[in-house]
């Protein structure tokens, strides 16, 4: 025991060093891209805001103040310090709603991306590895899904499933998942002819192990990039569905839904439309910038071996 403990420590240490090396290498390439670093910070800021929303928000997001309907932001004439970014048509504090809205957006992004990533990887790996009729079958289905304009298909699905945030997320995940299938399939097909796969086969690895343990980890870089990019697509699509009344339903402080509610006040009260719109814009832009940086850092084609 006495000897094994320092040994274990040493091992953990060494492991940390190699992980650290990889991280620092990753960071080196990532930080080459200024926009990506800014995007990362904005994203981190959003995550913090979403987590701390109950502490940061001055009011409850659903609380209606009858005496403060369509109050402009405080720096404008008629603005009040209690409502920093003004209130909406039923007197709810816009800042609080936006802060809570960040939670919904990130939640949508995480769930949709995880869902479409796992399903997409699963079918992509099978299509790429097995090939033949299975491949044709899976890919034709994906082609059918891709043939529809994505938002339209999501809209149809939500119409069938019934409006609501959960159904909207399922619909968006389904619409986004063909991209993952294609990407995974392409990566698997190019990797599976490499010698290390043959070597694993000779070592006796079974097909499932070959698919998910041997090949898949080497296909992750493009998938991570695609995942970040579809994170923002998911947020955007969810907002669009919300705007069309098919996503999150009204009292929910979801950014797209907020936009939809505020539509009729575009000319009278600019802040009720502009601010949620800006929130969506900033989030999506930050995540896209981050995705570009990730691509630079992870794409093996841009990197020396």
């Amino acid at each position: 025991m006495a000897t094994s403990t320092p040994n274990a420590l040493q091992e953990a240490d060494r492991h940390a060093v190699t992980m650290g090396q990889r991280l620092s290498e990753f960071w080196y390439y990532f930080s080459e891209n200024r926009g990506a670093v800014i995007g990362l910070w904005v994203f981190v800021f959003l995550v913090v805001v979403a987590i701390l929303a109950p502490l940061l928000a001055p009011h409850m997001p659903q609380q209606q103040y009858r005496d403060a309907i369509l109050v402009p932001p405080y720096w404008q004439e008629g603005g009040r310090a209690a409502y920093l970014l003004g209130t909406d048509a039923v007197g709810r504090d816009l800042l609080s709603r936006l802060l809570y809205g960040a939670r919904f957006s990130l939640f949508i992004g995480v769930i949709v991306t995880t869902l479409s990533l796992t399903v997409g990887i699963f079918f992509g790996v099978i299509a790429g590895y097995v090939g033949g009729k299975t491949d044709t079958f899976i890919m034709r289905i994906m082609d059918v899904i891709l043939a529809f304009p994505s938002l339209l298909l999501a809209l149809v699905l939500v119409a069938v499933l019934g409006p609501g945030l959960i159904n909207a997320m399922i619909a968006i995940a389904l619409v986004l998942q063909p991209h993952f299938v294609r990407l995974t399939r392409a990566a698997v097909m190019s990797e599976k002819t490499r010698d290390y796969v043959v070597a694993a086969k000779v070592a006796g690895a079974k097909p499932l192990r070959l698919m998910f343990k041997t090949i898949l980890p080497n296909c992750m870089a493009p998938l991570i990039v695609q995942a970040t990019l579809s994170f923002s697509t998911a947020i955007l699509d969810a907002a669009a569905l919300g705007f069309l009344g098919m996503g999150a339903q009204p009292p929910t402080p979801e950014w797209g839904t907020m936009l939809a509610e505020a539509r009729e006040f575009i000319l009278r009260a600019w802040w009720v439309v502009t601010l949620p719109g800006l929130a969506i814009l900033v989030t999506v832009l930050a995540i896209n910038l981050m995705g570009d940086g990730l691509r630079d850092a992870l794409d093996p084609k841009l990197k020396r071996s």
């Binding site: 070597a199 000779v202 006796g204 690895a205």
Partner: protein, 341 residues
């Protein structure tokens, strides 16, 4: 071909079927035609031939990556050819491989420990710690050390990578290792180290090698016997020294003559003789007649009509050439071109 052979290949055909437009079986491509080979335990058989001669197809068939079209491959008591590509674990773990390019044969996302112990994980019930211990032993066998266990392949040089590949092939102490051009992707200086390493391991562990290469000098150096392939046929087979010093089949001679000589004058003279020879390539029909007949300086009428069977050659081995029909003349074969010293 004796009964004590570890691996015995009989009349092996490997045919790749093309696909026609409708997904039906198209025209076949005969990569290997009725090949016979045998390897005894602990023996090294060198398989040489130009690219496309089918040597890798034989290797892949033995490894169970490509199904045999006809013939048999007896390994111990089992017939590998009848199992096609589904080898049971007991067989699979006895045949391992080292591939040509160490830059693509090691999984870039795994650590050295995982790579070396992959076969152990599949075939044994060893615990993680036991596997780690075995991995250490293996790394020591190939002159790497403990500190390399946690590293990834991209942190190693070509020679080191090939050592890792060899270590993982040795993990289960198999009876046969297929070496598919194990050194041709390496520097000449590293080649020697790897060859010596393979040599030592063979002598220490009694592993048989099926060594595939196109460099005859290298094969001669390490092999007990050599088989020469041309367009899917094994044209000559015999003890390493005999094949290297007094090649029997005209193709083997041509192959040996392709090794450049150190003396420029001798090289020039030899090139002049070679230019006088016909140089037409045989179309790869190989349905009839000797595959080498169109390039052979000794071609005779019967070479067009029938495939020469394997004739015994003085000094051991066989050659598929009508020059050795009957006892006519191995004396005349003492080479006008001469084997390179």
């Amino acid at each position: 071909m004796s009964d004590d052979a570890l691996l015995e290949i009989r009349d092996l055909d490997v045919t790749y079927w093309g696909r026609s437009l409708l997904g039906l079986k198209g025209k076949g491509f005969h990569a290997v035609k009725s090949a016979n080979l045998s390897i005894r335990p602990g023996e090294t058989l060198g398989l040489v031939g130009e690219s496309g001669s089918g040597k890798s197809s034989i290797a892949n068939t033995v490894l169970g990556l490509v199904p045999a079209t006809a013939g048999s491959i007896r390994f111990g008591d089992v017939d590998l050819a009848s199992m096609r590509t589904r080898y049971p674990s007991a067989v699979r773990k006895e045949i391992q491989a080292v591939f040509q390019d160490p830059y693509s044969s090691l999984n870039p996302s795994m650590t050295v420990e995982d790579i070396v112990t992959e076969a152990l994980r599949v075939h044994t019930a060893m615990t993680r710690d036991e596997r780690r211990g075995r991995a250490l032993e293996l790394l020591k066998l190939v002159s790497l050390s403990e500190e390399h266990l946690e590293r990834h392949p991209h942190q190693f040089s070509g020679g080191q990578r090939q050592r890792i590949a060899i270590a993982s092939a040795l993990a289960l102490t198999p009876k046969l290792i297929v070496l598919d051009e194990p050194v041709s992707a390496l520097d000449v200086s590293t080649q020697n180290q790897i060859i010596n390493l393979l040599y030592e391991r063979r002598d220490a562990l009694g592993i048989a090698y099926l060594l595939i290469a196109h460099d005859l000098a290298l094969v001669h150096h390490i092999s007990d016997r050599i088989a020469v392939m041309y367009l899917g046929h094994i044209v000559e087979e015999g003890p390493s020294d005999r094949v290297y010093r007094s090649p029997a089949h005209p193709y083997t001679k041509a192959l040996l003559d392709a090794v450049p000589l150190l003396d420029p004058d001798a090289q020039r003279r030899r090139r002049a003789t070679r230019k006088a020879l016909p140089a037409r390539e045989t179309p790869r029909v190989a349905s009839q007649g000797c595959p080498y007949r169109n390039r052979c300086p000794h071609v005779m009428p019967r070479c067009e009509a029938e495939m020469p069977p394997d004739y015994p050659v003085d000094g051991g081995g066989t050659a598929a050439c009508f020059l050795f029909d009957g006892s006519t003349a191995t004396t005349e074969r003492t080479s006008d071109l001469g084997a390179p010293a």
